[in-house]
């Protein structure tokens, strides 16, 4: 892994992305220039269809952009082979999804352990570390429960624990509070700030939930595939 001299976790310059071809071609990103600093919580906000999800997919290395350059911790993900990029994601990036994507037949401790299992850690150790993370997100007493037995807020805590368990340097979150009520969403964001955004870890949070903007260090506003403004926290 190449460390950059700067404190930039992610840098995008002139990133474009289009879907389809011919008359059905839709341009999702129209030359994105964006930097995510190490240790900051950046929110990507904007109306539906403005390209937020496409942008974090590119940043997370699960979608190839067409033009421009996107570097994550100094690495050009597009230039990597598929297997190397997969390994890079497994080592460096954590995910929090809108729909949680917890495997319903695994206990929550096992769900949290999944990134470690992917990395080849033994089941016993992985689940043990999963339980530790569940304690940190204040749900350790329910480690044997199945996801279906938990509320939406609790499931999102589990998802946060899963995103953290392998100690990634970047976490991408897609609408982490959209499935939650205001109070629960607030608590989840507090948790993200306390637990996730530490140790120089960067968070990129896609949201259109203005009630959680207060948790951002910076807010990048998107519209029609472009970053229209980036504002620092007051």
């Amino acid at each position: 892994m190449v460390e950059t001299a700067t404190e930039i976790a992610v840098s995008c310059a002139g990133v474009t992305k289009a879907y389809g071809s011919g008359q059905a071609r839709v341009t999702a990103l129209r030359g994105i220039d964006l930097e995510v600093r190490q240790g900051e919580l950046l929110m990507l906000v904007g109306p539906s269809g403005c390209g937020k999800t496409t942008l974090i997919s590119v940043i997370a290395g699960i979608l190839d952009h067409d033009d421009g350059e996107c570097r994550v911790f100094g690495e050009d993900l597009k230039a990597m082979s598929g297997s190397r990029r997969t390994r890079f994601r497994g080592d460096n990036i954590g995910f929090v999804f809108q729909q949680f994507n917890l495997i319903p037949t695994l206990t929550i401790a096992e769900n949290v352990a999944v990134p470690l299992l992917i990395a080849g850690v033994s089941r016993r150790e992985a689940v043990g570390r999963g339980r530790d993370l569940l304690n940190r997100v204040a749900i350790g007493d329910r480690w044997t429960a199945l996801p279906s037995k938990l509320s939406g807020g609790q499931q999102q805590r589990v998802a946060i624990a899963r995103a953290l368990v392998h100690n990634p340097r970047l976490i991408v979150c897609d609408e982490p509070t959209s499935s939650l009520d205001h109070e629960t969403g607030h608590k989840v964001m507090e948790l993200m700030r306390e637990v996730a955004a530490g140790d120089g870890r960067s968070l990129v949070v896609v949201t259109h939930d203005s009630r959680i903007f207060e948790f951002a260090d910076r807010i990048a506003r998107m519209d029609d595939g472009r970053i229209v403004s980036v504002t620092e926290k007051a």
Partner: protein, 386 residues
């Protein structure tokens, strides 16, 4: 990741049971139908199996199977006895004769004539009486299925049970009196006629007079002699055909395979089991994968390599395959066991277990290939689609 794969599979009870049901059904149908086929085919050479003592069967060169009798001259027996490597050679008569029943009707029976002195080729199991009783005048031994079935006497009153013939009863074989001195048990043969054992000389007396009446010469090779080599010598010396016991079984088996519709009829049933199993299990397994595609995509996003996902799917397929095959084979075995005393022909051999196992493995592999293709093509980016 193995335990994740297993818990994903068994945790989804409905789909898991659906896949298992499809594979169990396929395994059951394939194993059961193939076992009935094998049982039926084993009946074609049931008489050879029962006549266990000789090593070699000698017959006319044109004989195609055990029921295809082409009589030899009695002198052939002495020519065979003179061949090097032959320990002993005995005559055997085998023919279809009509028995007249008490109600006036006739029943065609298999009459087996054994060497008068040694009674070589007699039934393996005597239910009543002794084989040596055949040395008594006009004596015959009747197989129990025939005695209780087609040769049984009419019921004393209308609607009553037929009365099995028993030791001491008489039969009329081709206008000759025959006294039942024993009841035996024989391996079921492909034909359903009763089997009647008697001596060779008496059998030729019962049979219509013909110039040639010797059906087979039963040969025991000398200890240490190569049976195939003795067969070759007999053929060279007599111009007859000589087969080892297994060789004669194979000849009969091959005849029925080639000239009857049995293989294709059972083959269709087995193929149907395979197709239905593939359809049910394949479809359910594929649906299971499609339903879990967002979790597989999430695993991809989180860094799972294609090889790991491939391993997970193959493991899932192999687990349901092994369990489904086991249950299906178990059910087929139970079916055969429960119906062991009936007319059902059922022979489950280790080869059939291997064949049904391979068939289930093919079904699982096909199912897994469909699923693997879906998972491999899944874009991890779909995890961000709410």
């Amino acid at each position: 990741m193995n335990f994740v794969a297993i818990k994903m599979l068994v945790g989804d009870r409905a789909r898991y049971l659906g896949i298992l049901m499809g594979l169990t059904f396929a395994s059951l149908l394939i194993t059961q139908q193939a076992s009935i086929f094998e049982g039926l085919m084993a009946r074609t050479y049931g008489f050879i199996t029962d006549t266990g003592l000789p090593d070699i069967w000698v017959m006319d060169k044109k004989v195609l199977m055990i029921e295809d009798i082409k009589p030899l001259q009695d002198t052939m027996l002495y020519r065979v006895r003179g061949v090097e490597g032959v320990d002993w050679a005995m005559p055997l008569y085998k023919g279809l004769l009509k028995a007249r029943l008490d109600n006036g009707s006739f029943q065609t029976c298999h009459v087996i004539g054994l060497d008068d002195a040694t009674l070589v080729g007699g039934p393996g199991t005597m239910v009543e009486g002794r084989l040596e009783d055949l040395r008594r005048a006009d004596s015959v031994i009747v197989d129990i299925v025939g005695a209780e079935g087609k040769l049984a006497r009419p019921a004393e009153k209308a609607g009553g049970d037929k009365i099995p013939i028993k030791v001491g009863d008489t039969l009329e074989l081709n206008d000759h009196r025959a006294i039942v001195v024993g009841i035996c048990r024989t391996t079921r043969t492909f034909q359903s006629q009763p089997v009647i054992y008697t001596t060779y000389s008496r059998a030729t007396l019962f049979a219509p007079q013909e110039r040639k009446l010797l059906s087979f010469v039963l040969v025991k090779a000398k200890a240490g002699e190569n049976q195939a080599e003795v067969c070759r010598r007999i053929e060279a010396a007599t111009g007859l055909a000589a087969y080892t016991q297994q060789g004669f079984k194979d000849l009969t088996y091959d005849y029925f395979m080639k000239y009857t519709g049995i293989p294709i009829n059972f083959g269709i049933a087995v193929l149907l089991g395979f197709i239905v199993g593939t359809a049910i299990a394949g479809q359910t397994f594929f649906n299971f994968t499609v339903d879990n595609i967002k979790y597989f995509a999430a695993l991809k996003a989180m860094g799972a390599r294609d090889s790991q996902l491939l391993g997970m799917i193959l493991l899932q397929a192999m687990i349901v395959g092994a369990i489904g095959w086991g249950i299906g084979v178990g059910a087929a075995s139970l079916f055969g066991f429960l119906l062991r005393d009936t007319e059902l022909s059922f022979l489950l051999t280790w080869k059939l277990l291997v064949i049904s196992g391979c068939a289930i493995m093919v079904i699982c592999t096909l199912s897994a290939l469909l699923s693997i293709r879906t998972v491999m093509r899944a874009e991890p980016a779909i995890v961000f689609k709410g």
